[in-house]
Symmetry: C2
Subunit: 240 residues, 2 copies
């Protein structure tokens, strides 16, 4: 694992699950389960991960020396134990390194948009359904993000409270402000998607008016290809 090298080798990967976990632990030590729960109503909105991914990742962080774990007894009878994770100095340093690192964003991979590119293969009704589903989904997201902004502004999440309690008072404004900025950004994103879907619905209407029968596309080009062009010799691939 490239990011494990460090200390001389300095070949480091950027991976958000790791750093999201480190960031959560900045607010104080937690067990894997607690961490997973906190994850679910904070970072999970921007970086989704299943619990089954979080546990092994914590083990990896531990063996990389970025977190340290202790077995803590559970329950009154103390028959069972749980593992409490805490940041190490190296973990805190890695978190700060990651914050300052400029990452190349991953290439786009958006299924809804590739589908929309080929909507002419479906009927007007089907195209409309796609846009409607897109709108409904992003309306949900928008509402969820709005509720979250409200919680953050009222400093009403347990995680935020823990973090603020551990931070110097003059830092409180920044801590809240960056988080609010992120979720407001997500609200704007959602609104952009909703507007796109609505323009899509209008487009479907205009196209259906212009050509009521639509493009039923009953005549796909099957294999073997019919001779469309004479002299199939110099198939021009290049330049666009």
């Amino acid at each position: 694992m490239a990011w494990l090298v460090g200390a001389g080798g300095e070949e480091v990967d950027a991976l958000s699950l790791r750093h999201a976990l480190l960031a959560l632990l900045e607010a104080g030590s937690m067990t894997g389960y607690e961490l997973a729960k906190q994850f679910d109503n904070s970072v999970d909105y921007v970086w989704h991960a299943r619990h089954s991914q979080i546990y092994p990742e914590l083990r990896r962080l531990e063996s990389a020396g970025l977190v340290r774990a202790t077995d803590v007894p559970r329950g009154s009878k103390e028959l069972a134990t749980k593992r409490a994770y805490g940041l190490t100095r190296e973990g805190a340093a890695e978190l700060r390194r990651w914050i300052t690192e400029i990452e190349a964003p991953p290439a786009l991979r958006d299924s809804a948009y590739v589908k929309a590119t080929y909507l002419e293969y479906g009927s007007a009704r089907e195209a409309r359904e796609q846009f409607r589903a897109h709108r409904a989904y992003h309306e949900q997201l928008r509402d969820r993000f709005e509720r979250h902004v409200d919680l953050l502004e009222r400093r009403a999440t347990t995680l935020l409270r823990r973090r603020l309690a551990a931070a110097p008072p003059q830092a409180h404004e920044a801590i809240v402000a960056y988080k609010v900025h992120v979720y407001r950004g997500l609200i704007e994103r959602a609104k952009t998607e909703i507007a796109w879907a609505e323009r899509g619905i209008e487009l479907v209407g205009r196209l259906a008016d212009a050509d009521p029968d639509g493009f039923s596309a009953t005549d796909p080009i099957l294999w073997p290809a019919p001779e469309r062009e004479h002299s199939r010799t110099s198939s021009s691939v290049g330049r666009d």
Copy 2:
């Protein structure tokens, strides 16, 4: 592979690379290489894939019966061959099925946004750099998409020309319009990101004015965790 079942089993996955390839083949038969090239300046904007992924995927599509391949001689001496792929009836049907299928969008996983959530760990300068990089990246994307919309509107890409040549004239408007709608949507998206980054830069400025020294965050909570619950004494910040 669930999507391979079909014909009775009917357990089908939604995966865009497959369907993007099928969609490209609607415009006519192509070799793997030609397909990969066309991919690069069309679908790749919305669904990125490397060539090393495309070739095996074509083989899988072939063994699933969605495309059919023939060996075609290459060059004047005809010593080598290439494989030309074409849609089968099943492939065309699967493409249409996919268009009408409503997919659940994947959960969000956005590294830039999780990083922005924790920008208080860096300096104002570092925070600004993050937002500037974000803006620069999306300005590039916006420009690229604008150029692509222009090409589409002028019907100037080889792929679009081939597709239009193979489609009934009354369908031409819809074919172009959906593609333009997608790329205009991507332009709006990019603009939303640019605006977010700019508001971010303003925010950094306001926070720096309010607290010129910033939150240097020299005091992370390390392992073992101090007793948080009661008597939160700052003296007991952990040393490992």
